[in-house]
Amino acid sequence: MAFEWIKIPYALLTLFIVVNYGMLLGALMQKIAARVGRRHGVPIWQNYADLIKNYGLRTSITHGVMFYLGPVFRLSGGVGLLLFVPTIYGSEMFSNLSFAGDLILALYFVFFGTLGMALGAGESGHPHAAIGVSRGLAQVTAAELPFALAVFAVALQYQTLSITDIVAAQQGGVENWTLFTNPLAVAAAMLAFLGSMMRPPFDVVLAPQEIPIGPPTEYHSSYLALMQTNRAIFPIAKIVVYMNLFFGGAATWPVFFLKVFCIYLVSVFVGVVFPRFRVEQSIRWFLVWAVPLGVLAILLV
């Protein structure tokens, strides 16, 4: 795999599709969650409206350089993660920029945006932001662990760290998916997935009632717009990784849309049922329920 200039417009095309799908999907999930609570929920185009409004706003306020850079880090993280992973299996066009690195790059690039965002929020000087970051980081140490274990199990299983190769190994039928060949790893990873989607019971980071949305408290207008864009991209980018590793990847866009929707729905499904955990509760939960699955997965591979 090597770089060609044509990859850039192709990558931008992927980005365009994912942004739109992400915004619609986000609103749809909100709507589903609302319907569970017997509310109407937002209209499906709500995210577009919000985004256009926020992009349209101009601010005269900044808290400093890092405050500025926070949303930039955040969105770069989301876009980067998306582009470092091939979206559609077997398609040269939508293999994006995955020549730059393998699975490990994706695994670690997840944190690029999170940490940058945390720094930006920190410079705002708002205590709620710092509290949110403190909670988020504490939770992520435990929540990422089962995922890391699952990734390792999968890499051991297929003896490769290349995402494309891992997807290739799952072709030829549903029974070849990691979901069925290594269910323990997938179970562990899916529990970790719940922790990373910022939905109940693991949404104490944003905790809308106590620390109004936590880290992004001080962000508004175009800053917020960048972050909202990221909120459309990042979950999809992350789900793409899950889809590729555990659910056979996607060879066409319709399959892609379907699989991403289903995986996303898992977190919503859990989220509407369970109340919120405190940080130490969620850490214990991950260590007690998810990590042993991950450990078993790497031992039994």
Binding site: I61, F99, F111
Partner: protein, 1060 residues
Amino acid sequence: MSGVDGLLLSPLLILATGLGAAFLLGLLHPRQSGVAYGLTLVALAWMAWIPARWLWAFVLQGAAPVEILTAGTPPPFAINLRFGLPEAALTLLVNLTGLLSAIHLKDVLLNQGRRAMAVLLVAVMALGGIILTRDMFNLFVFLELAVISTAGLVLLSDTHRPGLALGAGFKYLVVSQFISVFLLVGIIFAYHATGTLNIDGMAEAGLANVAALAFFLMFIAVVSELKPFPANGWALDIYESAPPAFSALFSAATGAAVLYAADKLLLIGGDAWLPMATAIGIVTFIAANLLALPQTHDRRLLGYSSVAQTGLVLMVLGQRDILGEATPFIAFGLLVSHAVAKAGLYWLSGLVQERRLTDWAALGRRPLLVFAFATFMAMLTGLPPFPGFYAKWELVHHLAGADRLVLLALVLLGALIEAGYLFRWFGYLLKREAPGGETAPCTPHKLVPVLAALAAGWALAWLWGDLFGRVNLLLALPLLFALAFLLLDWLPAWIKNTLAIAGLVAYFIMTWGEYDPMRLIFAIIFLIGGALTLLASYHAHGRRIGFYPAAMLMYAGMVMLIQATSAFEFFAAWELLTVGSYFLILRGKASEPHALSYILFSLGGAFLILAGFAIAAAAVPRLDLAATGALQLDLASLAQVAAPAAPWVFLLLAIGFMTKTAAIGVHIWLPGAHAEAETDVSPMVSGILLKAGLYGLMVLLLAMGKQQLHGVELTHALLWVAALTALLGNLMAVFQEDAKRLLAYSSIGQMGYAMFGLALMNHLGWLMALVFVINHYIYKSMLFLAVGGVAKRTGTREMYRMGGLIRLMPLSFIAVLIGIIALSGVPPLSGFGGRWIFYNAIMDSETRLPIVVLFLAGPVAFLYLFRLIYTIFLGQLKDELRRVKEAPFWIVLPQMIYVALLLVFALVPGLALRQVDAYLDRFFPDGGLRWEGGQITSQYGYWDPIAIMIVVGVIFTTLFLWLLFVNRRAQMVKQFNIVFSAERPYRPETTHFAWNFFAPYRKALGFLTQPLATNFWGAVTDLLHTAGDLGRRLYDGNGQTYAFHLLAFVIIAFFIGMGA
């Protein structure tokens, strides 16, 4: 030869001069004390000159030993004396000590008049007699003379605190009578049994077999003069109450003479009595050191130490059966180290007014005296390059060679305890406030003996290096360079700094061709990295006395470490870098206890390494033991260590090295030592020094590979230790409020990662370890400098007291930002390379469970890293810090260089790693990387650092520029302009969320950071102190009790010795 002999004076003149001068003093008028004093000095000088001239003749002119027959007939009909090399050396030692003590005693002697001087002369003469005589009864006479003159001197000198010395002298006389009785009765029986009084005659007659009881009585009498435990209360009272110069004589000269007498007796006793000497020696060594531990009185402590050292030499004499020809080298090495150092310390104590150890702080402001103390301390603890070091090396090797491992362990344990109280004392001297701020009054006659001992110490260091025959450490260029800074210490700091940097760089240029790629990485970090770190030292003003010798000693040790090919060179270098770094760490304001903890763990580790090398040397199969010498072990031949010993050697060496990398369990010294060190010292001891331990582990693992102990694979155990180190180091870092402590704990975690890589024992694991070595050097040096600069400006290291410094210290912020991104392993900076190689390395690993622990450790780093940058630079600025300036230029400059280095290493890791990758193929042929253009490919995955950097850079810049454009009119708002529940925050202190930042995390996982290791080691030291304290109750100051101790000692020795 006879020509040479003709020029030499008869050794009898030594005795004659002493006696003659003593008589002559009686003829002088009592008021002519000045003349009497002059006469005494001249006599002592003359008495020292004669053996000195002989020594010269023996060593360089090949003179033969002489037998002196007093009555013109050979023994057994007359007394004979012998004067050979050992006698010459010992009489020189005794007489010189006498001379210098007389100089030191000037006030006392002038005050007391000629009688005291005569007694002193007789005492020195008697000691000479003990050394020279070969006649048993004559020995008794000289012993009696020595005892009486000693008691006389003690009694005469009873001016300082009347009554105290009087009591001590009286107790001494009481005990001496017991000893005399034993000796005399023994001699009578011995004469009865053998018909001769001649020592050699008795030996020939096999006295020990014919009349064991007779020998026992004589032997136990002489040994009792050596103040063995527990029959030594009287001696300690003398040490405590007599004038220091006299104690010096009593410790150094009397000890040496009586030890020689004991040696002569062992000649009679033969091999059968060696175990008894060994047992008494080692028990005394351990017990006296233990008892010294809780001491606070300086001279009493030195007394205990003297007793201990004498015990050690006695033990060495008792090991003659295995030491063979090496006995004199070892025994003399230990003896002269003890004599010179102890005499020096006693003389030094004459410059201190009060008697508590902490009062020695009065010397702390005098660099020369501090240097003298450090030299004496190093001599006593057997540090290189002093004779004790060579002696200890040989001793331990012989003990290991003869499989006397228990004895070996006891020797090292005792030495460690001794190092404990000596280094603690040194800490007092340097770091405590002098009482009343006074410095020691220095009169020349009190200073001269100290300086003479100092000079003698270094001369002996050279001599023993020369005698050792393999490597004279004092000829090693790096060490000489470091020592040169002692002479240059009067120069301003910036000149010395320039010299130091130039020296490091020049040495690298001189030697870089010698290193293989792996060593080259270490050489670059130690030498070039060291020079880079030293740039920060330009910020220091004044002369900065003591900094450069210590720093350069550490660097010398490190560079000698990577150049070492033999175990001896390696160990010597290891000790040098340990000592150098100890002095460096001790320089921090509040670092006294931490430096002590550092040196104790390091020396403990070093002793394990020593034991490991010794056991290895014994276990390497040799074709021709005699020809190659049992003691020389190449590092490479560690690979040939035979089976039963090999895992133990591995274990000892690995634990030894892990004390330096601060593996969990032996890590407790690190946080304090690194955090309390000076701003520019922290990066040296963290970024650079820690790598020495890793280097040691590499050498060990390359040579010995995987070892099994009771079915446990030791590299597997190492994996667990490394993983736990990484996890717990990181976790503990999370809960620190002190920024430098946070970084220090983070180092523990990082070393855990590097050790993990090594313990994987595969190609990529090692490559990962090297990536961590390079990365950790760069970012930890940078972070320590940045945080040090901030601490310098804000006056605190507590992070919650800072906040919002980004605008005031932007460059420091950039350094910390780049540092934490790199450390966290997030792409696109260099830490990611380490993580990527790590994942590829564990794909090949056979074991998986420890990896889980390491996975858990990974994200924990994010917590403390975020806290570090947020609580210091972001959040709310405090009122009292509003005028803080950026850190000093010289502290910022190296940080900026590190930033550049980090970026370069992130973009083209191949610059540093390609060669090593190829080199590692020799040891781990499979699993190397392919380097094609920018892309790096392993068996499992691929990675292109340049592409990553470009992709991330382009996305980031595009978004940033766009945001800049749309918000071009945005202004910085005031500090409290935030959405705060529709209110304005009250104060920065209440708004800056910083203290106990990860409280929920502590709730969940804080139980993992219980200070188990700290409690454990605390309990161990408490136990030692309590044992020492209990032992002190033996010594109640009652003469009867002491007499009883002596009897008990003799009876116990009798039953054990004769029973066996």
